[in-house]
């Protein structure tokens, strides 16, 4: 039982990382019905830029700089890979556009930081805390708080500020939002900036717990994508539950079956959700009254 509890606790911090990346997918999907398939690479770049900065400064001071870097990187993705496709009303152009950019980012990272995985120094003690025999790394707690804090901050912005409401209005009905004087193109750029910023943040949160390297984003980005699908592309609660489900499924399978199979339950879950509830576990289907 204690082992099981331990596996759940370990799954939670992993799951929250998936959740916060999946949240990033939702941000751009809401405003533009497009996704950045380079979310994983945004995370990787955030982690590696953070690693370089951390050589010169304190971990906590580095975070705001990485957030700014992430936002700028998101603006580049939107301008280069997404906007041309939206302008030409190309339905799928953004898919190849964001994948191509992601590959370029990965290559650039390999050239700057090398192909080997690097150790990211942990800002907190690396000896676990123990509660009732369950071990928790201090950094794992930071991950959970940081991920929830990030999502909460965006949610409060959307609900309380006039600019946040403009973002929600654009998600609801882009044309009508334009009639309100909202520059919806800018809103979409902003959502990409926010989305990459979230991913970069996830990168520096998870980096001290794993190894950091040019390829770290590929699998994380893909898994977070399946979390976004499992939870529903328009449900904030959905990505949290989906992320936790996947995180816990991985740690438990890794222990009880074999680490070789740890990716299977998540994918089985994904296939099940797609077959039974394609809008996701918490997916909302908006009803328009006439």
């Amino acid at each position: 039982m204690q082992i099981f509890a331990q596996l759940i606790v370990s799954g939670i911090s992993l799951g929250m990382i998936y959740a916060v990346i999946a949240f990033g997918y939702q941000l751009t999907f809401a405003t533009s019905r497009t996704l950045n398939f380079g979310q994983g690479e945004a995370l990787m770049l955030g982690a590696l830029v953070g690693l370089t900065l951390v050589g010169h400064m304190n971990y906590w001071l580095m975070i705001p700089l990485v957030l700014i870097f992430g936002a700028l990187q998101g603006v580049v993705v939107e301008r280069v890979a997404v906007r041309p496709a939206l302008k030409n009303k190309s339905e799928f152009g953004w898919i190849m556009g964001t994948i191509a950019l992601a590959t370029i980012f990965k290559n650039v990272a390999e050239n700057i930081w090398g192909r080997d995985d690097l150790k990211f120094p942990s800002p907190l003690p690396e000896s676990p805390l123990t509660f009732h025999g369950i071990h928790v790394l201090p950094m794992e707690i930071v991950v959970v708080i940081g991920a929830l804090g990030m999502m909460l901050a965006v949610e409060i912005f959307n609900r309380k500020s006039i600019y946040g409401k403009a973002v929600v209005a654009t998600s609801n009905d882009r044309d009508a939002a334009g009639l309100m004087g909202i520059n919806t193109r800018m809103v979409i750029t902003f959502s990409y900036a926010l989305s990459s910023m979230t991913a970069a943040f996830a990168g520096v949160l998870i980096a001290p717990l794993t190894l950091t390297g040019a390829t770290m984003g590929v699998v994380l980005g893909l898994k977070a994508f399946s979390v976004a699908i499992i939870g529903g592309l328009n449900s904030g609660m959905g990505v949290i539950v989906g992320g936790l489900l996947l995180g816990i499924a991985e740690t438990t399978t890794g222990f009880y079956l074999s680490t070789g199979y740890k990716d299977v339950p998540g994918l089985v879950l994904l296939l099940l959700v797609l077959a039974i509830k394609p809008a996701g576990l918490f997916g909302k289907t908006v009803i328009n009254k006439v």
């Binding site: 006039i162 600019y163 409401k165 403009a166 929600v168 209005a169 998600s171 609801n172 009905d173 044309d175 009508a176 939002a177 334009g178 009639l179 309100m180 004087g181 909202i182 520059n183 919806t184 908006v286 009803i287 328009n288 009254k289 006439v290």
Partner: protein
């Protein structure tokens, strides 16, 4: 106030407006009537920047707004309550109304008394006040129409475009919509009204334009159009 000169518009390669000229003077209500597919909605969409005009000129208070993006046109004081209401379903009634004042709350338009205007909208539409915290998507069709009109008014507009405010509403609600348009008129709000209920529209309007196949087929003071035998036969019908 609002001047539209020789406006052309196309969907893809198909031209649907072949040179529309309309004038909406300050403080007047002008209506655009015509059968389905005549191009009334397209005219409004081209004026407010929802689609790019293919030719012609649109001026608001003398300022050329032709071809500007819709958000820039809104900032010049042109409000458009679009066909189908298009309220923001996942936002509350109050948030929808507040967003109507977006250029006033951010930049692009003089701020004025936004809170006071919100209260005046609630006085004008008591139903909206009752439901101010409800999500717009849960409102009835009539309430959504009130909200769409209220939201457009929150811009404190120089001119208000109303597209089919009575569409799909029960007769009592249609009457209510026209009562409100009349009320807005007494408050001096300049309006361009597109309606299928031609008789009711001509009753409230000062001036009317009749559209047919993407052209203005005739225009004149509302009184005169109401008594025009051709207009009567085609749009007013025996029932009115």
């Amino acid at each position: 106030m609002l001047q539209v000169k020789n406006l052309h518009a196309a969907y893809g390669k198909v031209e649907v407006l072949h040179g529309i000229s309309i004038e909406v003077p300050q403080g007047k209500v002008v209506t655009l009537i015509g059968s389905n597919g005549a191009g009334k909605t397209t005219t409004l969409r081209a004026v407010s920047g929802m689609i790019k005009p293919a030719g012609g000129e649109i001026r608001l208070n003398g300022k050329d707004i032709t071809g500007l993006a819709s958000h820039k046109i809104a900032r010049t004081g042109l409000a458009h309550s679009p066909e189908g209401r298009r309220v923001f379903a996942t936002l509350s009634v109050t948030d929808n109304l507040t967003l109507g004042a977006f250029p006033r709350l951010t930049f692009g338009r003089e701020r004025g008394d936004v809170q006071g205007d919100l209260n005046r909208i609630f006085e004008l539409f008591p139903r909206l006040q009752e439901r101010r915290n409800q999500l717009a998507g849960t409102l009835s069709g009539g309430e959504q129409q009130m909200l769409a009109m209220g939201r457009a008014l929150m811009l404190n507009p120089e001119v208000l475009l109303l597209d089919e405010p009575s569409m799909g509403l029960a007769p009592l609600l249609v009457e209510e919509v026209f009562r409100i348009i009349r009320e807005l008129k007494t408050r001096g709000i300049t309006m361009l009204l597109v309606e299928q209920f031609a008789a009711a529209a001509l009753n409230v309007a000062d001036y009317g334009y009749v559209m047919e196949n993407g052209r203005i087929s005739c225009h004149g003071p509302a009184e005169q159009l109401k008594n025009d035998p051709a207009v009567k036969a085609a749009y007013l019908g025996a029932a009115h």
